[in-house]
Symmetry: C2
Subunit: 439 residues, 2 copies
């Protein structure tokens, strides 16, 4: 071998940046099996402590990308844009973004993920539609994009096999939470889509991986630099995940919310539209994507275009077309659950805070998500929020409704949700959803 | 499993000490194969960054020890003492210590190691004696101890299998140099010998693993605390390895030096006895062992007893008995090499400094040691020092003699040795060999 693996591990351990060729050697030889897991996991742990420079991160990401197939469009097609979110609870914007943005002529090649832990995944949501297949080949996917402008599929074995293998190793060695490793994992898959630009929704708060705005900005900057160094224009929205996004949490329930929004509906509870934040974030992200895809002169113009596409029904039509084309049938999508019950507030006051991660974990108890990758989910179950931060609640009134198929222990779940929603006497004011934009 | 391995890895990663039960779980399940290498190597790398508390180190060491067989003597036999050196170049004291100390009634159960890298190993030195077997069973070893008072054997598979497996993993994952891991590896094997006391020779300087006296003291204190917490009385000598110990480097050459010292001989070169430091360190360590084994009231009295045993010929007799008993024949031990040549000084002046690690590595080129564990060594080759720090040298006069069987490239070796010995105009004064004692 060209390098001695322990030399490279020790170089990182003692804080020296690795050269391009050294990172390339590590990634390539790990994928082909010449470097064993036990050496790579020691290296990954050293990265957790020492980090990587922006230059190392960009190179590492590039080598992950190069480990597999990449999409390519006509040379330098300036209108290929995707969105990626760092994950949250109730975050269903992708389902509407692709149908909205594609209508402007921007191509949206969305390779999406599954839910893990407290956060949901776009693929699980789409698969709650009976018959819907996310398993297209890359060839079918690319053809879809050329004829219909957008497509949403699952991770394939052809894209970034290095990331797949490394992610699995990080998962079992306590090395998931490292900014450069997270960045490499996110960006390699996105770079493989052959994008001209990428819009990122980097979330922070109790329901996000990044707990503070400062951490989110740090990650955002690293993601942006990594994109820039790899020739992709990256725009970032820093958004709050201090309460669930929208009204529903749970796979088919979230598809239902999207269809209602695509149909122009609202969901008013105590005078508040519980769809308004989902809709607003979707339009902001869509506007940014349209701008990044050079179909609008500025994000505000993009936002207006998105608004019109939504209200004209064009986005709904595109969404329905996608469902039909990928084999799904919406008529049987919303079967409902065996039981719907309320989780009552234990006292009166204002909702001051939500532990959104705990709410996401509660939806796992219902069967809506996975604790580990091999868990099977129930597409129909979930939660329907009846309150949000800064709203008044009365003792005994519902914090949320539970759509249940009986997987959970009702008392335990009820308690967990009651504990996750703090009620106090002072109205804290509603949190701002979109905090910052980096371009 | 009782604990989730990633939880334990992450606990260490984020700086929390592990509980006894958690360390026990890790060691036991790693040895039995339930915890894979890739998880353990991530844990070890986290230990390299976070360290272990004295309490964790003592527990970790205990669990390594408990992974295999341990020796035991009559309940609380107060006179079982071994010595361990952290390794150096020309360090042959063990060969004389056991025969000297055993003569006082202290039992010396010496489980010794092999050379790796620039440092030599007691087993390789003994095996240079034709027929000498270091492969006794633990039962034979224990019987030897009871009838003859001492025995020197190699590591067996029954002793500390956890250390064996962990050491091999650390070797290929860049995690060798971590004080608690080094401490665990050294002390677990010594604790398994059923000692009442242990005398440590912790070396520092250009020929030792610890480069500074401060580092050596830090390791010494950790070793001592770990011994104390496991019920073994630990005495430490902090000694300098800024020049090779004694006159000879190389396996049969070092046995030769020991035999000469055991016979009361000197080796005078330019008015200096080149055996004096080997002899002095041996007597100091022996005195400390005799004192630790409660056969002398203080180390000075122990030293005097050791001196008498050496000059009376009793130690020589014991050594010869051991050789005979373990199958060796001294009459064919010193065959000599094909060629002996000089490495001349390039200038006149005083020897101001030696790069002892480089001298050790030079002896590897001759075939006297191993770069990796599977290398085969030539027992006869080595170096015979002709100068030491603070001695005057003349341009062209020999720095050392090379005993060669033609494995090396003569010009390269000569250059390396010339580079390793610094010559200047100022006499730096001879370095003090024994710097500090911890009891």
């Amino acid at each position: 071998m060209k390098f001695v693996v322990t030399d490279l591990i020790r170089k990182k351990r003692f804080g020296s940046p690795l050269q391009d060729q050294e990172l390339k050697f590590l990634v390539e030889n790990y994928v082909n099996g010449d470097i064993p897991d036990y050496q790579m996991s020691a290296f990954l742990m050293a990265v957790c402590f020492r980090g990587m420079t922006a230059e190392e991160t960009a190179s590492y990401t590039q080598f992950l990308k190069n480990s597999g197939s990449t999409l390519s469009f006509e040379a330098h097609h300036p209108h290929v844009v995707d969105k990626h979110s760092t994950g949250g609870v109730g975050d269903k914007t992708s389902l509407m973004l692709a149908p909205i943005v594609a209508e402007t002529g921007v191509r949206v090649p969305m390779i999406a993920g599954r839910g893990l832990g407290h956060t949901g995944g776009t693929l699980d949501k789409l698969e709650s539609i009976p018959g819907f297949s996310v398993k297209l080949t890359l060839t079918e996917f690319q053809k879809n994009l050329e004829t219909r402008g957008f497509s949403i599929i699952g991770q394939t074995n052809e894209i970034c096999p290095a990331d797949k293998k490394l992610y699995a190793l990080r998962d079992v060695t306590g090395t998931i939470d490292s900014l450069p490793l997270i960045c490499g994992s996110i960006m390699s898959k996105k770079l493989a889509e052959g994008l001209s630009a990428l819009v990122l929704d980097v979330k922070f708060g109790s329901g996000a991986f990044m707990k503070t705005e400062r951490e989110a900005i740090e990650l955002a900057q690293l993601l942006k630099t990594t994109g820039d160094r790899n020739g992709v224009d990256v725009h970032v929205l820093i958004t709050s995940m201090e309460e669930p996004l929208g009204c529903f949490i749970g796979n088919s329930l979230e598809v239902f919310e999207c269809l209602e929004i695509l149909q122009g509906k609202q969901r008013i509870i105590d005078g508040e539209d519980f769809y308004s934040d989902t809709k607003e974030l979707t339009l902001k992200l869509a506007g940014e994507m349209i701008y990044a895809g050079k179909k609008a002169d500025n994000p505000e113009a993009g936002y207006k275009m998105a608004q019109e596409i939504l209200s004209s029904g064009a986005a709904l039509k595109n969404f329905k077309n996608m469902v039909e084309f990928q084999g799904g049938g919406l008529e049987k999508a919303f079967l409902g659950c065996k039981q719907v019950y309320e989780v009552p507030a234990l006292q009166s006051g204002f909702v001051t805070k939500m532990n959104v991660e705990a709410l996401g974990m509660a939806s796992l108890l219902l069967g809506a998500g996975r604790q580990k990758a091999s868990d099977v989910i129930d597409p129909h179950v979930g939660m329907e929020m009846q309150t949000r931060i800064a709203m008044p609640v009365k003792k005994g009134s519902p914090l949320c409704l539970i759509h249940s198929n009986g997987h959970e222990e009702k008392e335990i779940l009820t308690q967990k949700i009651q504990q996750a929603v703090s009620i106090g006497n002072q109205n804290p004011g509603a949190p701002r959803l979109i905090r910052k934009t980096l371009r």
